[in-house]
Structures are given as structure tokens and as C-alpha cells.
Symmetry: D2
């Protein structure tokens, strides 16, 4: 998995703070922006987060490139609807020699790994053979969830906070959890105050809606 | 593929017509509803469609059950974000003995079909063996796009018109095109005027944005 | 203010429960629907709410007519973006003799009420005079926030839960709080289990994000 | 009216072009970005627009400050739901001595202007008097549509194209049309190729859904 933050709204914390001040001030936006100091920005952003006034967090967005993840992950990822996605098409790109994501539980189990690789070898061969006979969009019906894909993903800071809450939780599958952790690390570098307390409810002081039984942490 | 319309907003055309009249009338909504006659509803709905005043079409929604479609289709389907989905989980449901969608191009080509079925047999066996060793959520990495899934899908009438425009077009893949055609047939039975001119641009009098070369109709 | 529930997805609780069972069952949707009993539906809906699995609540939507509310309210209301609205247009409807919403604080204060009514009388007269000279869309610039409007509003059950959480809170303005309370009463009649624990955080056991100081209940 | 573009996704055209190439290429995103040349970006963006593949335009967003517009405008503006808004609150900001937008049709008509200003003077005085008696959130019920407000608005490039299509049309009210024209001018400076053919249907070669009769251009 390779994840990069390729772009983001410049000065994201200042934009969020200006949006917040606007709601409570008679001044025009340019003056508000000009008058905002570093420490004030930090404090405002903290208050907004505490009070759940997160609509102001929507004004800034972040663009990620995501390579080397499975189609199992991408099918989960695109269910987050307040976001924008572009994804490599299995209809238009021939996936001959495709690379696959191997789950850690398989990689660490020799019997499972042997079986897994035999199945994937068979699929490589079947896919190549089918490409000779039918369109790529139909040959791909034998491609497995493990098949690697690439995406460009855009989310605003509010949608990211929600994404991190759900997907850094141990209830999420290991692969999308890894993606979420990496995305969080990346945005914290450029907007530390916006994402200071991002993460699963048990780390951010919110009540955990899942039963204790289901949590790998609590077992 | 089995598609059923399991629920919808009652009297959908009347609700849309009432919404439209509301915008241009000093009357309260209940009076507007009471005064609407069948023929008037039909005419109003036609005018709204012609002028592109489709926000009124959002007030009514339709619930479909979709069974026996591939995960290739479901990954495309859930990219439509103004909609709600519930889908059978490959993390929580063991797919032992899973059934598969066979593309027509494969079914009609004996060489392809033999290769396709050999690959799927291998996957059935590999999946069953992996289930003995690793969690279902990881065993599923060998499941193919062809693997059947089930969904419950809700879209409002405006989102459906957009969905039909894109997905009944010959540029869409055969499987989601088949789904779109069936959904269109179902909603036309209960709301004929809302969906009278639904379909690809070339059937509804809109300009086709795709090049002629790419269209199977024009070849 | 007059609020009516004019339509909704039939059997809303059963649809939500079926969506939930689908995610964890190998059965097709029609069988799932057929096998659902009243008590099971009630229990499933409760579990979904407790665990925050609210995407299933999106499958059912509710249509309200709202008459006799102010444009101050409607400007707040339409900020809820996961919803559909049709509203009486001040550009196309001449508001001669418009009716106004009088805030309780004004109604109960004789000095304020006299001043308020004098201002509104002046506006009635100014609006009528301007209509003789300029288009209605420009004459309306003198219409006050108090001016009554009508809307048709559609929200799904998940969006409604969020709406109720924010707008039944004492921090919300009295008018939209009254609207939210009425909408909640109406949907509880047709879907009691979906909305059993709807309301402000302090009534539903969630942490209150607002400071105690700001709450009229805690003073 | 004062409109400023205060922030935007850096290199917006390159981000859109990279998203488009990703869909049709086996390469990872960073390589795609690195290999994109100026002329190629321009050509790709043009093709995407022509074919209506606008999901790639969603990856870039633009932040505007909008000051000195009426609440009539802001009520229209926030109906565009695929966008984010922060707006000066009439509940928390005391609008004593508020400034007003005067429609051109009123400004150019001495009789109308006199009547308009008399009404607004009365409202200034009524609002100030009410503030002595009731909370600001209730006093504001006498504030007129003309009352000036400030917003911070974020839209992505796809939402902007839609906004420009509807709101630069002569059917839109003069004030929001002026806002749309200014926003279009601003984004064209930083992303000329994305917005080269933005505007009303009659200027961009699309069919006009409105009847000719209703258009001020065709009269």
C-alpha cells in the first residue's frame, strides 16, 4: 500500500477559523482573515471540535493517491459518499500480470499461503486466457478481491473525521484500517489542530457504540 | 439477476406535482394536494421534466431488492452517491458454495466457458480451504468479481433519472445496463409519467456526450 | 405553524429491519422480508440504533408539508443538505397582504408588540407600493424575515434523527424547535421504533457538546 | 457586493487531469502526476468536459468570501447542497445600523427608491427598539430580505459548473447572477481550462430547457 497526500487547501486551519469567526462577527471575511493569529486559530479550531460545530471543517479538503490496495478495500472505501473518487477501471485497463494484496493472516500461515498463491496463479492464467476470447470487461469477472487497484480520493476535513472514527476502529478490516491510519498521519502533518483528536471513539473520549465483546482491544 | 420494487412513496406523481404547484401558489400544501386532478398531475409532471425542474422529483423514492448480481456490478452501483445501499457482507457471511455471474460473452464461447468454470471451481475449493485457516474477511480475498451478492437500494426519482441516463446507455457494461432496464420497467409501472422519457440521451432527445465511434448502436 | 405528514415509505420499520438482516444473511431480500415478524423488527431496529448502524435508516423517507413558518426558519431549515425542499417563491408569488410570524417574546411584550406591528404595517404598505413600480422579485427586498412561507420537506429517517438531535435542543431557536417537535410527534405515530429515542443529546443519553452555560435547561 | 477567491486546491487542472489518466492507466498516481505536461493537461481537461466525465472535476475545490449580499440571495445560494457554507448569524450578531442591498430597478426609479428607503429607515428604528425588549434572534424578525450578510462558500469544480449553468442564466435573479459572474471570473483566472465553457446553456452549446418566451435575451 502506498498512500500520498498530493494536494490540500492551503492554510487549512486558518480557513476553518475564519469560517467560524464569520458566523459571530459583523466584519467582512477579508478583514477576519487578516486579523487571525496563529494562537487564535489553534484555540478556535479546538473549540469548534469540542462543540461539534464541524460544518466549518468542510471548507478544506485533502487529495490522496492510494496505490496497491485491494478491490475488497476499494469497494468499502467508495461507500463513503461525501467524498470524490477516481479509480483505475478494470473495464479499460488490461490487468495481465496483476499484483495482489495478501492478507497478513494468510501470509503468516504457510498452509493458507500456499493455497492462496495456487489460486491466484490459476486466476492469472485464466484471466490471460479469457482476454484472448472475450472483452476485458468480461474477463475481469475472474479477477479476485485481492487484485490491486489505484485511486485518487478527495475528502473534506469533516468527512475525514467521520472516516477516521469508523475506519481506525479495530472493528474495521485490517486493510482499510491501515489506509485510514496512514491518511491520518499525512493530514496531521499539514493540519495538526484539525485532526488532533481524530480516531476511534475509544481514543477520542466518545462513547463506543459497539459492544465490548466485539472489540479486539477489550478481549 | 432478480430485481424487485419492494416499496415506494405512495402516489409519487401527485407528491411531485404538489411540490411544483407549491412554488408558484399562495395556497398551503394540504389545499394544493386536495385540488390536484389526475390530468393536471400528468401535465405538471411533463412540464417539470421538460424544463429540467427536477428538484421536485426528489421528494419520492423507490426501494429495490437486487439479488444475483456480481460484485463487479455492485462496485459500480455504489459509486452513485445520492442513494442508500445495504449489501450482504463478505466479512460476516461465509460464502461457501457461492454462486457466480457468467458474462454472456463467456457463456456463448465454449473455450472461454470451460476456462471460466475451471477457474471458479478452483476458487470454490481455495475459498473453502482458506476458511479453515483464516477469518472469512481474509479468505474472501480470493473471491472473484463474479461472486453473487444482494443489495437493498433506495434512490429518489431525480437520482433514478440520472442513473437511467448513464446506465441504460450502451456504453455501460451489460450487467448494470440490465439492472437499470429492469429498475426502469418496475418504476414505470407505478409512476409512468415520472419516468416516461427516462433512458439514454439518444432515446430522450438529449445530445449524446460520447463519441459516435464508442457506441455499439452507431457502429 | 401547520405541519402535516403527507406521505412516507410504507412499513418503514420493516424495510429498515430487512436492510439490516440482508447484510448478515445469505438469503435473498424477498425471503428476508417475508420472514420478518413484528417483534423481530422491533428488536432489530433497537439494536441498529444502539450500535449506530444508521445507514439502514436511510431507506425510508418522510414527506412533510410545512405552512405558516417564517423565512427566518426556512433559511435555517434548508441548511440541512441531506433533504429535499420545495418552497413558495417570493419571485413568482405576489405576497400582497402577507401574514407574519410573531415571536412569543414579542407577543408577550406590549411595547415590543406595538413597535413590531407598526413596522410590519409599514412593510405591507411599502411592499404594495413597490409592486406598482418594480418586479415582485425586487419588491420582496423589503419583506421581513417574519413573512410566512410554505414548504414541502422530505428527509430520510437517518437525516431526521440528526435534524431532531440539533433542532429539538434548547440551543435551537424556538420556531425551528417547535417545527422539529411537531415533525417528531408525527413520525413517531407511523414509525415509533425508528424514532423512539430521537431528541436532543441530553434526552437520548449522548454527551452534550454544548457548554452547560449556554443551555436554558441548566441555568 | 464584494467577492474574493480566498483559497483553492493548488494546481487544480493538473489534479483533474491526473484523476482522469488514472482511470485508464496501469500506472500509480505519483508517476501519472510526474509525467503530465501542460499541453496534455489542457487537452485532457477539454475531453473530460466534452464527454461529461465530470466526476474528475470534483477533486478540486474553491473557497470564496462573499460580503455585501442580501439575505434574499443567501437563501437562494444555500439551496445548492453540494457545497459548504458559513454565514454571519442574525441570532448572535446584532445588526444595529445594518446595511441593505438596493435592487437596480428600485435605485433607478425615484418613486420606488423613496418608498424603499422610508421602509428601511422604519425597520432600522424598529429593530433597534426591539433589541431593547427582546433577544436579537427575535428582533431580527423585522429585518428585511435586503439586509446585507456575509458568507464563506466552498464548492468543487463540478458543483461550480452546475451553479454557473443555472445562475448565470438570465432567468436567475440579477443579484445571484452577478455573484455567479464574479465567481466565474475569479476561478477562470486560476483554472482557465476547467471553466473555459462555463455559463448558461445558450452560451455553452447545450439545449436551453426554458421556453424562449421566458428569456430576456430572446424577447
Amino acid at each position: 500500500m502506498e498512500v500520498n497526500l498530493i494536494a490540500w487547501t492551503p492554510e487549512p486551519e486558518k480557513v476553518v477559523a475564519a469560517a467560524a469567526r464569520l458566523c459571530y462577527s459583523p466584519d467582512a471575511v477579508p478583514e477576519l482573515m487578516a486579523g487571525l493569529e496563529r494562537e487564535q486559530v489553534r484555540r478556535l479550531v479546538g473549540q469548534l471540535y469540542d462543540r461539534g460545530h464541524l460544518s466549518t471543517f468542510e471548507h478544506v479538503s485533502f487529495q490522496f493517491s492510494v496505490d496497491g490496495v485491494s478491490r475488497a478495500l476499494s469497494h468499502q472505501l467508495v461507500r463513503h459518499r461525501i467524498a470524490s473518487y477516481s479509480q483505475r477501471s478494470q473495464r479499460y485497463v488490461r490487468e495481465t500480470g496483476f499484483r495482489s494484496v495478501v492478507p497478513p493472516s494468510v501470509r503468516e500461515n504457510p498452509a493458507a499461503l500456499t493455497r492462496f498463491q495456487a489460486a491466484l496463479d490459476e486466476l492469472q492464467s485464466a484471466y490471460a486466457a479469457l482476454l484472448e476470447e472475450v472483452p476485458a470487461e468480461d474477463a475481469r469477472y475472474v479477477l479476485p478481491n485481492a487484485c490491486m487497484t489505484s485511486l485518487l480520493v478527495t475528502m473534506n476535513a469533516r468527512a475525514l473525521l467521520h472516516f477516521f472514527e469508523l475506519r481506525t476502529c479495530t472493528r474495521a478490516q485490517w486493510e482499510i484500517r491501515e489506509l485510514a491510519r496512514r491518511m491520518l498521519t499525512l493530514v496531521r502533518e499539514v493540519a495538526p489542530h484539525l485532526f488532533r483528536r481524530a480516531g476511534p471513539p475509544c481514543e477520542t473520549g466518545k462513547p463506543c457504540p459497539e459492544g465490548e465483546m466485539s472489540c479486539k482491544r477489550k478481549k
